[in-house]
């Protein structure tokens, strides 16, 4: 059977690949959405923090002999901690100002982090081996699915859905959402808002680092690995609706699929298709697919 001249088997394969890439978009845009939704900061450093995640894992492996599993847990904590430091020392001063300033500050930080790593490590990638358990692949009948990629989908789904649950369905999440709008009032109700915000930023950054560790065995660990993906991830968050957690997740996976299909039918446009979709979505639904207008 063929669909648009492509054998359906191959098409399934492509869709699956799209879904895998979507997992990365979802993970990254989730972190971005959490940070935007709850701190009102457009975290341009996200790409650099994703790169940091991959690098910390790489350095951990080569310098300290830390294996993948330990790295998967430790790296988000370490990078998240640096994030909290940034929040405490810099971002904190910007909450009352226009979004623009947060965006500019984090943009500057991204340049610094990326510059330093490029200076230190050059720009060709470093290898990171696939963990032993995930070596090899499944033969699904219609494609050859590397085990590690399957793991990526599973891990990403679990992390995304639990984050969504915490934020949209628990009391903690309600505090977070309320604190976005009027932090001092929530604090006046007896909630330690500054600490909550610091932890939230740390968490969002940790998510980026987590995605970085997940990516290390697939891509080259490289100082510029986050620079280009960040723009795409922004687009994902905007399409999903700024600040909407579910929006970020669904759009992440959805756009992965669409991008995957574009790679089959018109590969040259595959890096642009997301922006075309973004324009259309914003024109029809100004606040994004799942966003609510303020």
């Amino acid at each position: 059977m063929e669909i648009f001249g492509i054998p359906s088997q191959a098409l399934f394969g492509q869709l699956l690949i799209g879904l895998i890439n979507g997992s990365f978009y979802a993970l990254l845009s989730l972190g971005l959405a959490v940070i935007f939704g709850l701190l009102n900061i457009i975290n341009f450093t996200h790409g650099a923090q994703y790169m940091l995640g991959a690098f910390v894992a790489y350095l951990g492996l080569t310098k300290l002999g830390i294996n993948y599993w330990v790295a998967l847990v430790v790296t988000p904590l370490v990078v998240g901690a640096t994030g909290m430091l940034i929040e405490r020392t810099m971002l904190k001063q910007l909450y009352k100002l226009d979004h623009l300033y947060g965006l500019l500050l984090t943009f500057g930080l991204a340049l610094i982090i990326q510059g330093l790593f490029r200076h230190e490590f050059g720009s060709s990638g470093m290898p990171y081996p696939v963990p032993e358990v995930f070596k090899g692949a499944y033969n699904t009948g219609f494609m050859f699915l590397p085990k590690y990629r399957a793991w990526v989908i599973v891990a990403s789904l679990v992390v995304c859905l639990s984050t969504w649950y915490v934020i949209e369905r628990t009391k903690l999440g309600a505090y977070l959402r309320a604190a976005t709008e009027n932090p001092s009032l929530v604090q006046a109700f007896g909630v330690n808002v500054p600490r909550m915000i610091t932890l939230t930023y740390g968490f969002g950054v940790g998510l980026a680092a987590f995605a970085g560790v997940m990516a290390a065995p697939i891509y080259q660990v490289n100082p510029t690995m986050g620079a280009d993906i960040i723009i795409v991830v922004f687009a994902v968050v905007v399409i999903g609706g700024m600040g909407s957690i579910m929006g970020a997740i669904l759009t992440g996976f959805g756009l992965g699929l669409i991008e995957g299909l574009t790679k089959v039918f018109y590969p040259e446009a595959s890096s642009t298709v997301i922006f075309i979709i973004m324009t259309i979505v914003l024109l029809i639904k100004p606040a994004g697919l799942f966003g609510t207008q303020k």
């Binding site: 799209g18 720009s123 891509y219």
Partner: protein
């Protein structure tokens, strides 16, 4: 007469981006070594100075720097310049200003083809050579059906075009191609298409991070295990280093320089690595070394640093240096020397770091580059 008494060489390349490991500060080191070695060997009285700058792989940044070098900083020759678009811009500018550009970094064969000029010399390698070296050898050894993964920009397209011509000429067939946006992180979708095409050879008409990512992911998706082979149309030693032999093993590629070719190259590499924090030289960096030596020789011979005159002198004099051996510079500006087809070793075969290549065959100098007869260069009288 040497302008203001100093021969000034500008090393213009990518200091911090995609090609900084292949060119970058290493090229500056190579140029310095060349000056030292030349002065020591010839007791020449030339005063030589080296400046360097980052062109960020952007033609506008590059030509901006070059213009200022030529206009106000009294630079006489610009060396290196990776990234074809920048190389072309510098070549044109050098001709306009009557200066000299000796390019080792760019791939495009147009530099000695339709964009050639009297003030530009192309040193280490070019797309025609890469296509011919890797393409021909692979088709000859049975790899006769091809699928191209092409980086969607001028360089990738040129490489694909040249290789396709070679494949067809040698009786091979191209069963498909896909243009990948530049840069791309994830090649899995494209690799799947390549896999589905059942081509024996997947030609990677890309460079840098695109190449390493596509090779890495090809291994992940079991492409090589499934019987298909990769042909890296532009792979440098540092790329193999960053991939690791586990993944890169078996890859076929063409270069005109490898550190382990002979005693001279080994001796050079030892000194280079000492100066560059243990990194081994790439073909481009070796090219910068060799081209600077020949340039200085020509300056001494012509007794001037005037760009046009030195260029003519460089073409007149035969070349001879420790890294590329004896050779010539042709009328179209093409430096001629042998090329080598390598295969990346298996991990077990490697005796240590940077011991990566196995020599498969040597392509003699007169076959390695595009014959003058086929050249579109207006300088070539037909």
């Amino acid at each position: 007469q040497i302008s203001d008494g100093i021969v000034k060489i500008g090393v213009l390349n990518d200091m911090s981006g995609l090609y900084s490991d292949i060119t970058g500060p290493g090229s500056v080191t190579a140029a310095r070594m060349a000056v030292e070695d030349y002065i020591k060997a010839t007791k020449s009285t030339l005063k030589v100075e080296i400046v360097s700058a980052d062109h960020q792989n952007k033609p506008d940044v590059g030509s901006n720097v070059a213009r200022q070098w030529y206009d106000t900083d009294k630079v006489d020759m610009i060396a290196d310049v990776p990234t074809s678009s920048v190389g072309l811009a510098i070549a044109k500018l050098s001709a306009d200003k009557g200066k000299l550009h000796v390019n080792s970094g760019s791939a495009t064969a147009d530099l000695t083809g339709k964009a050639c000029n009297a003030n530009t010399i192309h040193w280490a390698y070019d797309t025609w050579m890469l296509a011919n070296g890797t393409g021909k050898a692979i088709v000859k050894s049975g790899g006769d059906t091809w699928f191209f993964l092409t980086a969607d920009y001028a360089f990738g397209q040129a490489l694909e075009r040249d290789t396709e011509a070679v494949v067809l000429k040698n009786g091979g067939k191209v069963v498909g191609k896909v243009r990948t946006p530049f840069p791309t992180q994830d090649f899995s979708s494209f690799l799947l298409q390549a896999q589905a095409s059942k081509a024996k050879i997947i030609g990677l008409a890309n460079a840098g991070g695109d190449t390493t990512n596509s090779i890495k992911q090809a291994a992940e998706f079991g492409i090589t295990k499934g019987g298909q082979n990769l042909a890296g149309l532009l792979v440098f030693l540092p790329d193999v280093h960053s991939l690791g032999l586990n993944i890169a093993q078996g890859l076929k590629l063409t270069e005109t320089f490898y550190w382990d070719l002979n005693d001279n190259t080994r001796a050079f590499t030892k000194r280079f690595a000492a100066a560059q924090g243990g990194k081994y030289p790439s073909m481009v960096q070796a090219g910068v070394y060799s081209s600077v030596i020949h340039y200085l020789k020509a300056v001494d011979a012509a007794k001037t640093d005037d760009g046009t005159k030195v260029a003519a002198k460089m073409k007149e004099l035969p070349t001879d240096d420790p890294l590329f051996g004896k050779g010539t510079v042709r009328a179209d500006g093409r430096k001629i020397h042998p090329a080598y087809l390598f295969e990346v070793k298996k991990p077990a075969e490697s005796k240590g770091p940077y011991d990566y290549y196995k020599l498969v065959s040597t392509i003699p100098a007169n076959e390695a580059f595009r014959p003058l007869a086929e050249s579109e260069c207006p300088l070539v009288k037909k």
